[in-house]
Amino acid sequence: MSSTSQKHKEFVAEPMGEKSVMALAGIGEVLGKRLEEKGFDKAYVVLGQFLVLKKDEELFRDWLKDTCGANVKQQGDCYGCLREWCDSFL
């Protein structure tokens, strides 16, 4: 099995609906707050950004880093989470 966190598994298991941005894997309280301040208050908004970047890993990681200061691990977790969600539901 891959080493995905509980948060990841929960997020990927169902449509995100109106989940908060903090439901994303890798995004905790601090990062979530920063994202919300920038206007990304829901998970689907971040999804929107992910999709606009054409699901490109590098670009999405850069964007996350610039927007909320996520470190490499957090970037990876969030990217993986969204990508897997897209694979299942998009």
Binding site: Q49, V52, K54, K55, L59, D62
Partner: protein
Amino acid sequence: MSEFLQDPSVLTKDKLKSALLAHNVALPNGEQRKGVYVDLYLKNLTAQNRRSAAPEPAFSSDEEPPAPVLSGRSRSGRKATRKTDRVRPEEIDVTELTNEGLKDQLLKYGVNAGPIVASTRKLYEKKLQKLLDQGPPETVVQLSEPAVTGNSQNGNTDSDQYSDKEEEATKAEPEPEPEPVPVVERPMRSRGKAPVTTRTRSGQHKIEKLSAVEQTPKTPDRDVLKELFPNETLNTPTGISATRRQPIKGAAGRSFSDSWRDDLRPRLTEIRHTSSSSSSSSYTETRSAIHRTNAVPLNALPLSSILKPAAPPAVQVKTRRRLPVWLQLLLLSAVAGFLFFVYQAMETNEMNPFGQSASSGALGSTSK
């Protein structure tokens, strides 16, 4: 000294503020929008830049070297500007590009950019800047190809463009060697394939890499194998030769001492005893030496078959045991006795235990 940029919006707000402070520009109180600082910067510093940069050809008379001018023109934030062919005639300031222009520039590098909107623009600017730093598009394509194709969703459609571009590149420019891998590859490839063409890097890049890599493990493996098995006189088809393992002492009736005949008599009786309960003896043997190979039972069978008719074999066999025989026999007898005891302690199932009182009395009598 700060370099006075044409477009200070590429700097962060903090940097703008510090630059302004460094040049004694009065900052407005409190946190202002970045645009405010940008304007201030432009007004105060870039104006100075223009003033002092007017006599541009006269390099020596300037307070600040013209390098910042060039850098401002060519690249915002690049520390050292080389006046080489890197400075291209077309616009290189990524921030001044329009969305379409940015997309076109990225396309030259084979990057199929997505929609360049407000939220994505900065990212694509950064990306283009990175690509520009790496060099002209033709050489960069080789670099970005493995990276881009790594993103399965993004890179696949662009593979067609690469081959065209690289033909130009290898003709026009001398190939830089950005990665150590291609450098290593070439001597490898020359060994394996005659046409060591640098042109065929794009599509066959990966294939050649794989083939080159395949060759490399083979040769070290052969050397290692030769080292491990220097005995080449056997020359078996597989190159593998099996040597008979040293027989284990104490196994299948082999004695501990080297000479078989010394312990023959007592050994025989022991062997007979063991062979009588063959199943349990094999059990103890397996317990004592778990890692025995198939050679042992093969040796054991002929030996036991020889010994059963009680004919003393004249074979001198080396025996080696983990546990001494007597100890194994002791364990065996202990286990057998225990099992017997358990069996004795059991009650018979012939009669209904829940039923008649007569049967229960019979049951009670059977115990112990």
